[in-house]
């Protein structure tokens, strides 16, 4: 029975593990607000619209805690992702969800007392608010206590990525607790000063952020003002986008090997997928998700990762548009996956600790890692074997034009990059079960099982 290492900020309750399940304890101090959440109809309204994580009440003081009010067994989340792993559109949807939940809460006489991106998880591909204890009684005469937190963890990263057309991942990694307003004001370009939303929420807020609370005279606020504020934040976030052309976006649409190659590859991969034991697949270098989506059609639950944010962005948009629920696309660089961070390095666990796939899929990836990033085949074989017991992997020969492109400005220091050496090295860790050529190109696809 261990308390979750990230669950220490809010005195209202906490989350803990017991017998392989995650429970939430509601403390006495939060009893009033919890009862209001359940009795006002807010909980049911949010659950009906799939905006809030469902839970069951358990009237048992599992931990024998004197602060105990009630125990909740929430719907269990299969995989926890972090905001620093989301693409722009995912963070944007999480921000819009937070605002929507806040607006619905106000209609039921409650309000969000915090607004961090960690309150949200992606379940079946859609964002869901998971922190049941974030609600408190709404006091119309008070401004929003979580306004600054909302700005720092959602609005500022989105705005900076929008204006600077940069990736959102480095911002979220570098500022896990949010971007302070004075930093946001510095990172935004000059032209943003002419935008009303940036002026109000960034530059004006920056002017006031140094004002000492001693000077805080009671401010007058109302529900109408609060709705104006929330609606304005909503329309501001809705307008943000960071679309830019990525060299990887149209990899499969434009790539030279063409449709014969793609069709052959689809056929081989589909056949290999049937051989896999288990339903959890990790797709490495997923690109636009073509093969991840193929795997969902065979009933797999897929975590699809790629280093390229624009790819994950369009992949995520596609899952939304086509209502594909079996895959979660994430911006994770496989050569530098998310580390363990937070208090005592325990609060947020590393990617490897969270992921427990039954199989890996690495299509058209190996040459990028070996030739593009100089990673020896031995190291990759060892790492892949550690990650999962089954592997679908594509070997792209040195003669392939995509590999030649990688070698264009590089000295060929890769004498061991050959199909024979690849098979030899991977055979030390895996048993090669199947091998097939994809069309008449210089690409072979393997199905392997860990020794």
């Amino acid at each position: 029975m261990t308390r979750h290492p990230a669950s220490y900020r809010d005195p209202s309750g906490f989350v803990y593990h017991s017998a392989g399940r995650l429970y939430r304890q509601v403390n006495k101090v939060y009893a009033g607000d919890y009862n209001r959440l359940m009795q006002s109809g807010l909980y049911h309204m949010l659950c009906e619209q799939n905006l809030l994580l469902r839970h069951k009440e358990i009237n048992e003081n599992i931990r024998n805690d004197s602060d105990w009010h009630i125990t909740l067994l929430p719907e269990q989340i299969p995989f926890t992702s972090y905001p620093s792993e989301w693409c722009f559109e995912q963070l944007k949807d999480a921000a819009l969800l937070t605002l929507r939940v806040a607006k619905i809460a106000i209609a039921k006489g409650m309000m969000l007392k915090d607004a961090t991106a960690f309150n949200i998880q992606f379940i079946h591909g859609r964002p869901v608010f998971i922190d049941t204890l974030s609600f408190e009684k709404y006091n119309p005469s008070m401004p929003w206590v979580a306004y600054r937190q909302f700005c720092e963890t959602f609005l500022f990263p989105l705005m900076i990525a929008h204006y600077d057309k940069m990736g959102i991942v480095p911002l979220m990694q570098g500022f896990a607790e949010g971007i302070p307003v004075h930093t946001a004001a510095k990172l935004l370009p000059y032209k943003s000063r002419f935008n009303a939303a940036a002026w109000l929420h960034v530059y004006l807020q920056n002017k006031f952020s140094n004002k000492h609370p001693a000077a805080a005279s009671p401010v007058s606020f109302s529900e109408k003002k609060m709705m104006n504020l929330l609606n304005h934040l909503e329309s501001t976030v809705e307008r943000l986008s960071n679309f830019s052309k990525s060299p990887w976006r149209d990899y499969y649409a434009e790539s030279v090997p063409g449709t014969d190659y793609l069709q052959a590859k689809e056929k081989i991969v589909t056949a290999y997928l049937q051989k896999i034991n288990g339903k959890h697949l990790l797709d490495l270098g997923a690109n636009d998700g073509h093969f991840s989506i193929l795997a969902t059609k065979s009933g797999f639950d897929v975590i699809a990762i790629d280093n390229d944010e624009q790819c994950i962005n369009s992949f995520y948009k596609k899952t939304k548009a086509e209502n594909i629920t079996g895959v979660l696309p994430l911006c994770i660089n496989i050569i530098s996956p998310t580390p363990a961070t937070g208090f005592a390095n325990k609060e947020r666990s590393s990617f490897e600790e969270r992921i427990k796939p039954d199989a890996l899929m690495a299509l058209a990836l190996l040459h990028h890692l070996c030739i593009g990033k100089n990673i020896p085949l031995e190291m990759l074989a060892g790492y892949f074997a550690r990650l999962a017991p089954q592997l679908i992997i594509e070997f792209v020969a040195k003669e392939d034009e995509k590999t030649q492109l990688l070698l264009q400005n590089k000295k060929d220091i890769f004498p061991s990059y050959s199909i024979a050496r690849f098979e030899e090295i991977f055979s030390e860790k895996f048993v090669i079960e199947n091998k097939e050529m994809a069309g008449d190109t210089r690409r072979s696809i393997y199905f392997m099982k860990r020794r």
Partner: protein
């Protein structure tokens, strides 16, 4: 509000800035509303005219 439940720092000046932003937004929305009303008034007239012509 119970003080001990206020576990995140709203940020110094955050309440004041919200009051100012909400005030400005109130003015903007007020004029937007007037503009929309005028627009819809003329649109209605136009619609009625075109209906009359038919």
């Amino acid at each position: 509000m119970l003080q001990h439940l206020l576990y995140i720092d709203p940020g110094s000046g955050s309440y004041l800035v919200q009051a100012i932003i909400a005030g400005i937004l109130g003015v903007i929305f007020y004029f937007k509303n007037i503009r929309l009303r005028i627009k819809s008034f003329f649109n209605r007239n136009r619609k009625e005219n075109s209906n009359n012509r038919q």
